[in-house]
Amino acid sequence: MSAIIDLPYQLGAAPSSFKPGQPSSLSATKETVLLPAGRSYAAHLRRQLNQLSFQQDDEREAKRIQQELEATNGAGDLDLDIGDEPESQDLLDRDPKEWKTQDHYAVLGLSALRYKATQDQIKVAHRKKVLKHHPDKKAGSSGLANDDSFFKCIAKAYEVLSNPERRRQFDSVDEAIDDEDVPTGREKPERFYDLWRPVFEREARFSDPKNGPVPSLGDADSTREEVDHFYDFFYNFDSWRSFEYLDKEVNEGSDNRDEKRYQEKKNRNERARRKKEDNARLRNLVDKALSVDPRIKQFKAQEKAAREAKKNKGKVGGAASPLDPKKAEEERKRKEEEERLAKEAAAKKEEEDKAARADAKKLKEAAKKNLKKEKKTLRNLITSNNYFLGQGATPSADVIEAQLNELDAIVSKLEPEQVQELRQKCEKVGAESADKIKAELDAASKANGITTGAFA
C-alpha cells in the first residue's frame, strides 16, 4: 500500500437521487524523461522490469522485508547466550588504565568466539555487559559510589572491537591464541589431518578477503590440484596481520619532537621486524606441514611409478604382453623378485662400499697425521747427511733453503702414503750412501714435475 495522505477537506453529501455516470477519460498523456536517480526510481524500475502492478510489488516487498527481519531475528536467537561467560574476579578487578594488556574478548564475555565473533555479536554482548555493570546499578549495593572501573574496561573493549581497524590490530596480537601450537611432525601420518587442520584454520584468519576464500587442508582423497593449490596459497599468503598494537606509547606529554620521532621510528622498525618474523614463522610452518604430508609422499611415489612404467614401456619384454594376465602376473612377480634382489644386492654393495670408504678414510686420516712425522724424518735424513755435500763442508744458506723448499714441494704434491713410501725408500738407501738418498729425492721431484732441482 502506498502512504496515506490525510487531507483536511470534508467531502460533501451525495444527493439522494445520485446515480454514478459513465466515467470519461483523462487527457492524453505526454512524453517525459525520467532522471535515473533515487530510491523511488529504483522502485519504479523494479515494478517495470518485473512487470508487477503496485499491489503485486507491495506484496513482494512486504515478503522480502519480512524475510530479512526473520533472518536478523533468527541470528538474534542464536545470540541469546552471547556474552554470558562467567566473569572471574581477576577480570572484574582489572584496572581500566591497563587496557593495552586487557583481553577485550574476555571482558565482553566473548572469549570462546574471539576473532570469529561478528559485529552484531559484539554489539549484543556489549549491551548486555553494560546493562549488567552500569555504575548506576552498583552504586547502591557495593557502597562504593565510583566503582565503575569494570564499566570503563567494557567501554574500552567495545571501543577497540567495534572499530574494524583497531579490532584487526588487536586480533593480530591476540595472546589467547597460541601460534606456536604446531604438531611436531613426528606424529603418525594418519593423524596429519586432525592435527594440522586447526593450525591452518587459525592461520587463515589473517587472510585478506580480497584474496578470495582460503582453501581447506582437505583430506586423504584430495586431488593433486587441490593439495597444490592449498600449499601454493599458503606459500604466497597475503596476511593483514600487523603489530601496531604492541607499539610503545609515544610520550604525549613531552613536546620534544625528536624524542617522539625516535620512538615512532623504533616502533616502525619493531613492527617491520615482527612482521618479518611472522612471515618466516608461517613459512616454516608450511614447510613442516609439506614435509610430513602423507599425500605429498603418495604423489611422489605415484610419479615415480609412472616414470618407471614409461621407461619400461620402451624395453622389449618390459610390460610387453598385457594380453596374458597370468604371464603378466608371473612377469610382475619375477620382476618384483628381481627388483628385490637387485635392491638387496645394491644395499649390500652399498654397505660394503661404505665400509671400504670408511676404512680408506680412516687410513687417510691416519696418514695425514703421520705426514708431519714423515716429513720430519725426511728432513732429518737430509740434515744428518749434511745436505748431501759431503763430510766437513759447511752448507750455504741458499742450499739449505733450496733443498728444504723442494722437500716441502714434494711432500705437498704427494699423497701421504706416497710420502711414507718415499721415506721408507730413503731410509733403506740411506744406510748405503747419502747420494742415493739424494738420487731418490731428485727422482721424486722430477716425477712430480718440480723443476727447482735442488737435489740434482
Binding site: 500500500m1 502506498s2 502512504a3 496515506i4 495522505i5 490525510d6 487531507l7 483536511p8 477537506y9 470534508q10 467531502l11 460533501g12 453529501a13 451525495a14 444527493p15 445520485f18 454514478p20 455516470g21 466515467p23 470519461s24 477519460s25 483523462l26 487527457s27 492524453a28 498523456t29 505526454k30 512524453e31 517525459t32 524523461v33 525520467l34 532522471l35 535515473p36 536517480a37 533515487g38 530510491r39 523511488s40 526510481y41 529504483a42 522502485a43 519504479h44 524500475l45 523494479r46 515494478r47 522490469l49 518485473n50 503496485f54 507491495d58 516487498e61 512486504a62 522480502r64 522485508i65 574494524p164 581497524e165 578477503p209 580480497k210
Partner: protein
C-alpha cells in the same frame, strides 16, 4: 556499507571546487575531508619544480606561480579547441593551447616544458581525489563511484569525464546530473519505506508542507557554483524526478562576487594608503582575490569579516573589513542576474513562482545569505506555499547526493534493476531512449465544498464555492498511485473527480496610506500596490467520474487512485479499514 562489498563514494567534480562524499557508519552521506582537513577542494593543479600541488594548496601557487597552475579545466573535457569561447580562454593561470585540436596546457614540470591535455590533467586530479577517499576509508575497498556533471554537458563531455575517471582508477557506477543529485541528497518526496511518507528535508522539526504536497512538489534547484549559475525546474513526484526546464548562465557565479569584493577592497586600499594597485601587478590582484574569497566565505557565517593582505602593493599592507550588508549592496546586481536566470527557467517550464513548492540551494556560492533572502522574496516564502530548503550545506549537496545514489545502486535488492541502471549509457538523460516515460499532462483531482474554516491561502484557491484538491498533478510519471483520506459530513458521501488547469490568481492589495499625522513620512512616495499571487487549479466543468460511498459518518473515506502507463485509471473508494469487497471502484478508460 559492508566490509565485504566495499564502500561507495560520490564525487562532485566541479569547475571551481570538488568534493567527495561517502556513506558513514550511521548510513548517512558525509562529505569527507582531505589530509589538510578541507572538504571543499579547489579543482586546481600547480607544478613547481618537481612538486605537484593539488586543491587548495595550488590556490596559493596562483600568486607566485600562475603560469604553471592549471584551473577551470573540467569544462574543457570532451571538447575541441575550436569549441572553446574567448571568455573561457581568458585566464590568469596557465593558458589553453591548441594541441592539434585538443585543448591543452603547457607547463614546466621539473624544469621541462610539458604539454598536458585537459584529459591528462583531469586524470591526475581525479586520481588525487580517489586517493583522498582511499586514505579516509582506511583500507575499505572502494566498490564504485557516482560522478556529477552539470546538466548542460554533452554526450562527448560526459563520456570524456567518465573515461578520465576510469583511467584514474575509479569504478564509475553512474554519471549523474547535478540537479538530480541535489534532489537525491534530500531524498525529496521519496517515500521512506513501504506505506510511509517521505522524510522532511529539514528534519522532524521542519515547517510542514501544505496539505497534499507531501509526495508531489515542483522544485527549483539553484546551483550557483564558482564560475556559473544553473537553475533547473524539476517535478518531484513521489521520489521520481523529471526535468521541466534548465537554464545555464555562465556570466554569474561565485567569482563574480569575488570580483566586486576585490574591486571594493582595491578602492579601500587606495583610499587608505594612497597607493594604487597597478593593472599589470598580477601578483597583487591574485593575492587580493584569494583573500577576498576567504572573506566572502566568512561572511556566509558571520555578520562581518576581515580581509588582510600583507605587502599587497609596493610593500604596503592592507587590512579592511566588510559586513554583510555592504556585500549584499555590492552584489545586488549579481543577485538580480540570478533572479533573472530563475525567472527565465520558470518561464521555460511554463510555471510561475507561486506554483513552485520548493527551492533547493546547491553549489558553494548558494550559501550567500543575501541570495537566500533575495529568493525568499521572489518565491514569497512568508506566504508559506514555497519552502526554501538549505538544511544541507549547499556546497555539499551534490557530492552527498552522488554518494547516496551510489549506495542506492549497489544496495538495491534486485539484480535486474542494478544491471539496468549500470547499463545506461553515459549520455544526457534526454538522449537515452530507455528513460523515456509517459506522464500526466493535466492535474487530476477531487472537488470538495469550500471548507468553512480554512486558512487564507486555501480560501484563495476556492472557485465557485468548490475547492479543487489535486490528487495527481501534471507531469507525474506513469504508472502512479496515490492514496488519500478525507473526512465526510454525512453518508453517503459524494466524490466527484475532475481535471483542471493550473492557474495563478493575482490580487492587488492597496498599500496602507501613510499616516497623515506622522510628519516624518512626508518624503515617502505613495507605496506601489502589492501583488499577491496564489496558485490554484481551475476545475473543468466536465467531471471525469462521480461516485458515492456509503459509510459511517464518523469514519473517513479512503481514496486510492492508480493511473496506468496507457492513461487509464482506477479509483477505489471505501470506508477506512474496511476490506476491498465493499469498495466502490470506478474504472476510467484511456484516451
Amino acid at each position: 556499507m559492508s566490509e565485504s562489498t566495499g564502500a561507495v563514494i560520490g564525487i562532485n567534480f566541479g569547475q571551481s571546487y570538488s568534493s567527495i562524499a561517502c556513506i558513514n557508519q550511521h548510513g548517512r552521506a558525509d562529505v569527507i575531508a582531505n589530509e589538510d582537513g578541507e572538504r571543499q577542494l579547489a579543482t586546481r593543479i600547480s607544478f613547481n619544480g618537481d612538486q605537484v600541488y593539488l586543491g587548495n594548496q595550488a590556490t596559493a601557487q596562483l600568486v607566485r606561480n600562475a603560469p604553471n597552475t592549471i584551473d577551470r579545466f573540467v569544462n574543457l573535457l570532451g571538447r575541441s579547441f575550436a569549441e572553446i569561447t574567448e571568455d573561457e580562454k581568458k585566464r590568469n593561470s596557465a593558458q589553453i593551447i591548441d594541441n592539434s585540436g585538443v585543448p591543452s596546457f603547457k607547463v614546466l614540470i621539473d624544469e621541462k616544458e610539458t604539454v598536458l591535455s585537459a584529459h591528462e590533467v583531469a586524470v591526475k586530479y581525479l586520481r588525487s581525489l580517489f586517493l583522498t577517499a582511499k586514505d579516509f576509508l582506511s583500507g575499505v575497498p572502494i566498490a564504485g563511484a557516482v560522478l556529477s556533471v552539470p546538466q548542460y554537458f554533452s554526450t562527448a563531455q560526459i563520456e570524456a569525464l567518465k573515461k578520465a575517471a576510469v583511467e584514474a582508477g575509479l569504478i564509475v557506477l553512474q554519471v549523474l546530473t547535478s540537479p538530480a543529485a541535489a534532489l537525491v541528497a534530500y531524498g525529496l518526496t521519496s517515500p521512506q519505506g513501504l506505506g510511509q511518507l517521505p522524510s522532511h528535508p529539514d528534519g522532524v522539526e521542519g515547517a510542514p508542507y501544505p496539505a497534499g504536497k507531501e509526495l508531489d512538489r515542483n522544485v527549483v534547484v539553484v546551483d550557483m557554483g564558482g564560475s556559473s549559475t544553473d537553475v533547473s525546474v524539476l517535478a518531484a513526484r513521489a521520489g521520481i524526478y523529471t526535468l521541466l526546464s534548465y537554464v545555464h548562465n555562465s556570466s554569474v557565479g561565485g567569482s563574480s562576487v569575488d570580483d566586486v569584493l576585490v574591486k571594493f577592497f582595491a578602492k579601500e586600499f587606495t583610499k587608505k594608503t594612497k597607493v594604487t594597485i597597478g593593472e599589470s601587478d598580477k601578483r597583487a590582484w591574485a593575492k587580493l582575490r584569494n583573500e577576498a574569497e576567504v572573506t566572502k566565505r566568512a561572511l556566509s557565517a558571520s555578520n562581518s569579516a576581515q580581509c588582510s593582505v600583507e605587502s599587497l602593493a609596493e610593500g604596503v599592507d592592507f587590512t579592511g573589513s566588510v559586513n554583510r550588508m555592504r556585500l549584499d549592496l555590492l552584489s545586488g546586481e549579481i543577485y538580480s542576474k540570478v533572479q533573472e536566470t530563475v525567472e527565465d527557467a520558470l518561464k521555460q517550464a511554463g510555471l510561475e513562482a507561486a506554483q513552485i513548492d520548493e527551492v533547493i540551494f546547491a553549489g558553494g556560492s548558494a550559501r550567500l545569505p543575501g541570495l537566500y533572502e533575495r529568493l525568499a522574496i521572489v518565491f514569497n516564502e512568508e506566504a508559506g506555499n514555497t519552502h526554501l530548503t538549505a538544511s544541507i550545506d549547499a556546497d555539499q549537496v551534490i557530492a552527498r547526493g552522488c554518494a547516496i545514489n551510489a549506495q542506492t545502486i549497489t544496495a538495491t535488492s534486485g539484480e535486474l534493476e542494478r544491471d539496468y541502471i549500470l547499463s545506461l549509457p553515459a549520455k544526457p538523460a534526454s538522449e537515452i531512449p530507455e528513460l523515456k516515460a509517459k506522464a500526466t499532462s493535466r492535474p487530476f483531482g477531487i472537488l470538495v465544498p469550500a471548507p468553512k474554516e480554512a486558512s487564507e491561502a486555501v480560501e484563495k484557491q476556492v472557485v465557485d464555492g468548490q475547492l479543487f484538491v489535486t490528487l495527481i498533478p501534471a507531469e507525474t510519471p506513469l504508472p502512479a498511485r496515490r492514496t488519500f483520506r478525507f473526512p465526510v459530513s454525512s453518508s453517503p458521501a459524494l466524490l466527484s473527480f475532475a481535471e483542471g488547469t493550473p492557474s495563478v490568481r493575482v490580487e492587488k492589495i492597496e498599500a496602507p496610506q501613510p499616516d497623515p499625522e506622522d510628519e516624518d513620512d512626508e518624503d515617502d512616495e505613495p507605496l506601489e500596490p502589492e501583488e499577491v499571487r496564489t496558485a490554484y487549479v481551475k476545475p473543468d466543468s466536465n467531471k471525469i467520474a462521480e461516485v458515492s460511498v456509503e459509510l459511517d459518518a464518523s469514519k473517513k473515506v479512503e481514496v486510492e487512485v492508480i493511473v496506468n502507463a496507457d492513461g487509464s485509471a482506477t479509483i477505489t473508494a471505501r470506508e477506512e479499514g474496511s476490506d476491498s469487497s465493499k469498495a466502490v471502484v470506478a474504472k476510467i478508460p484511456s484516451a
